[in-house]
Symmetry: C2
Subunit: 681 residues, 2 copies
Amino acid sequence: MAAKDIDTLAINTIRTLAPDVVQKANSGHPGAPMGCAPMAHVLFSRFITANPKNPNWINRDRFVLSNGHGCALLYIMLHLMGHNISMEDLKSFRQVGSKTPGHPEANHGVTGIEVTTGPLGQGIASAVGLAIAEAHLAATFNKPKYELINNDTFVILGDGCMQEGVQAEAASLAGHLKLGKLIALYDDNHIQIDGDTALGFTEDVVKRFESYGWHVQVVADGDHDVEGITKAIQAAKAVTDKPSLIKVRTTIGYGSKNQGEEKVHGAPLGEPDIAEVKTKLGFKAEEKFYVPKEVYDFYQNITKKGEEASAAWDKLFADYAKEFPELASELKRRLAKKLPEGFAAALPKYTPADPPVATRKLSETLLNKVALKIPELIGGSADLTASNLTRWKGAEDFQHADTKLGTYAGRYIRFGVREHGMAAICNGITAYGCNIAFGATFFNFISYALGAVRLSALSHHQVLYIMTHDSIGLGEDGPTHQPIETLAECRALPNLLNFRPADGNEVSGSYLVALEATDRPSTLILTRQNLPQLEGSSIEAVRKGAYVLQGGDADAQICFVATGSEVSLAVDSAAELAKEGIKSRVVSMPCWELFEEQSLEYKKSVFPEGLPVVSIEAMSTFGWDKWAHASIGINTFGASGPYKDLYKKFGLVPDVVSAKAKKVIDFYKGRKAESKLVHPF
Amino acid sequence: MAAKDIDTLAINTIRTLAPDVVQKANSGHPGAPMGCAPMAHVLFSRFITANPKNPNWINRDRFVLSNGHGCALLYIMLHLMGHNISMEDLKSFRQVGSKTPGHPEANHGVTGIEVTTGPLGQGIASAVGLAIAEAHLAATFNKPKYELINNDTFVILGDGCMQEGVQAEAASLAGHLKLGKLIALYDDNHIQIDGDTALGFTEDVVKRFESYGWHVQVVADGDHDVEGITKAIQAAKAVTDKPSLIKVRTTIGYGSKNQGEEKVHGAPLGEPDIAEVKTKLGFKAEEKFYVPKEVYDFYQNITKKGEEASAAWDKLFADYAKEFPELASELKRRLAKKLPEGFAAALPKYTPADPPVATRKLSETLLNKVALKIPELIGGSADLTASNLTRWKGAEDFQHADTKLGTYAGRYIRFGVREHGMAAICNGITAYGCNIAFGATFFNFISYALGAVRLSALSHHQVLYIMTHDSIGLGEDGPTHQPIETLAECRALPNLLNFRPADGNEVSGSYLVALEATDRPSTLILTRQNLPQLEGSSIEAVRKGAYVLQGGDADAQICFVATGSEVSLAVDSAAELAKEGIKSRVVSMPCWELFEEQSLEYKKSVFPEGLPVVSIEAMSTFGWDKWAHASIGINTFGASGPYKDLYKKFGLVPDVVSAKAKKVIDFYKGRKAESKLVHPF
């Protein structure tokens, strides 16, 4: 079969298979797969080098379908390339328990899906992270004659992604960073859900990306011009100091009677239209889920080349290991997601004799001791470095060498004021497979980034969100910057560990667990203001999520549970009560999620039957009814002023707290404080 | 005094007063006020027409300081113009209880602050909303000879704002909408917190804004070139079909020994440096909080012109009222934030005989009946119109007439896939003072917009967030689109009403309250799937937040409380239990926040002492311990599949729910179910 003929046949196979997949599910998006079939075919058959039999091969080319609603396309391509998606899986599209959910999910059983997409803009932003990770790894491990790492990151994105702020943030940073191995194909089909893009999206995308410093090309006929797409990608690959955008003009739902209209975007075409499409493209109208043998053979042949490349790399790496044994074993360690041995010994420990320090500052101290020992840690701040204190001494910036501000071997990323982009980029960095990404900002501004934080959790990406200025304790900046609802938000998100450490030992313990948690993200929620080093705290105690800090006696009348800066308030309030002969227990609870995972026996040892519990946290009490019989917090917005004045204003001082505690004791004199740990089911 | 001299004196007054304000607070940002003093002076003295004695004058020019951390500048300008900020208020900058918090807050007692800023990017995005509102109002009310509405919206924004995605989204839309009366001055000082913008922000901003369709100019010497700034603003005013950006090159902290460096960005200069600044600028080193009489006089004179303009407008409006009495009274009604009389009568009512309908569809029916009666309602969807069902029949798009797609008199906004921008724009539209803004997307994607939703709540802006596809009930789109944590997030946010109606009557009741709530935003959380019309529901019941839908008998053994789609599940589960002779109560709780505001007596009538309560909600149970003794929900991410299969997978079916209810009944046989409504304090 002539090259041109097989290209056409393959493209038409995708264009007829995709509507079948969507039709059987009676749900989904046929338009994008049919429109993007040519560019996907070109990418997978001519550019993407990967090995489905060794899908984690570190130097594979990455592909991200940023317009994730078009995932029938991705599933079909992965099926054709020999990944672990069968024809049966395609037939179970969007069904409960299938491998083929409505949008592509990373780390959910299908190889070749690098990052989760569907929430628009996330894919292209995470792809920037994949490209950063590649550039960093190449700079770290490549040696003359051993170009171990040199993969490309390819993206397809649509109009929806192009309108999202997270995309704009990441694209601007990618241009600054001159990520030459990032190549994005923009499916410019002029149609979005509401109709023609003329309704609300008339900017000049080419000019915008040029303004970011990208290399931009246009392919006028993306429906047919396979060679044009190919040449543009080749040209993009030749540009090494700029990311590339290729605007490919396509027809959404190509082949359908409604092609080029929004009707084909998000609903099955219907059997009659599908039959017509098949006839039009030279397929049998009645044949469903049909892949010609020539097409399977053709892609299998491509896959074989990928297998060969992967084998050749193994050979290269074996030689490299002889010449650079330390580097090789370091790379192997990272690939295995094993932390360097003995790193935990470097974690700072504190005693009550140590001076009061802000937990953000304790975090800085820790990073200064640990960051050099954990070279896979890479990240930075959204332009709050001096406030987040996330840059360790001697850190090098991750920058293109031309800037003279750093190199790609640097591990400190200047994200700029781009919180959402930062989080999405962190997902990509971790997804690459050799790094633990971190991003930092004020805790309040995790609200800007939640779209991406949610995907860290859903996709099991280990990302550390270092969030300082964690309450009204930030003081004068006022209610616009003071988190109230924010911790409840984070706690309600599945698969996210939230740490709010109370002192130096708990900061160390929080980092310890967060660094060990290879399959989930963490927040590290830190104060601006100084906190004392507590009697009874320890690094290891953090593993349990909550523990008895003080007052383990059986005859305590009241139990305080607090997190972060309010633990010392609980201690002071307990001291206040002690003056009146009232014994109390203080529980520090740096991480709800870890405590929930403990045995009931342990939990009961912390919160014994019959002992009333009062929570203290300088933010919304929302959710605390789960653990506490009464809650002290702030259920309004904050205020602007010196932090000590604010704590007083909001009643977060020992005399007010202890008075409330006495009310609780009185309240439960006549009745039993039912354990919060025993549930009917 | 010569014009040039008074300009210099006024600018230097600002440049010396700002560091005094920050120094006294020992906290704040002196750099931006000192660098932006010339452009602020030009704007306030030559362009902004407003009347501090009638600060709500609808046709006043709006000014937004998007780099809100520089608010010492805004407070100083408002003080000089005669707004209700005294010198004492400036001296109480960033103190508890002052009128001058760390970032400017709208609707917190100071006139002239149009929208809350500080969280970066919000100001410029909300300013787009202010300009939309102006254009819409002008198109609606202006008549030949009566140009009632023609104000400008001026913005100052900095590098931080320029990096935020919310800014990019709103700026792109502003260009599309050709908002000629929006004029933004970009304080291009090359410094952000981390240092030189070269670290991470090297895009070509001029080219980017041109790509959006903005008119862009550059002023090379923003430190001194008062006439250059003036001419640029004049030129911007002359361009009527494009928003304008003026890039003004400035020196941050102008006058300080550290001018042009990040040191002057976010900390007081220190007394010695301030003394030097004063000397350098011709002021007495030892004189603090000093405003020369000539400067007060000068600005007072400007204010007088504003008063005259405002009085002339009153006269114009009086004449207009004679010629167009209906339009005039309509405008007055809107200004008074009074809903049209009798609109509530148009709200649809339902009986159990009516067919099952999705609440998003019921919302559409309601909008079709109500939207034409409430002409102040303006908004749209983030490119999900056909899914959110927010466009009523006969709606006209808000578009520039040149597009032939609508006019500025249209009330339906095509926001594009720009959720964060949409929410920030809605804040601006409502802040303008004559409209109720609404924005729509899938509920899950409110996570993209929370930065702005938070400011709706903080600033008391009435915005309706119409959020459809509210749970796993959306089905096949899968976990990337299914809210789990989302409702907990919203409930934890102060001053936000969250409605999850269960049927048609509750949809009507939810809209009724949301439309009446002039000082807080609401979410309307709606299903994709059909729900039955319930026996016992009513419009008025929604006002109470929660009410007994069924099973009011005193001898119920169990109480279900549910919201939205799970209320009918509770009813079905109760029916299941009834087969076994177990009586249960069903409480529908469309709005937590309203229920919390009810009397304890009413609350106890809903949740009687001793009756165990089981909550059912198809998302995270986080927070439900506040009301329920046991909770049924989903504390993991969702899954992709037809929604009925998903409800089954997650145990949200009558047989599973009723079995769990029986466990609760058994559990409380030996012990009392303590009321959740009685608290120790």
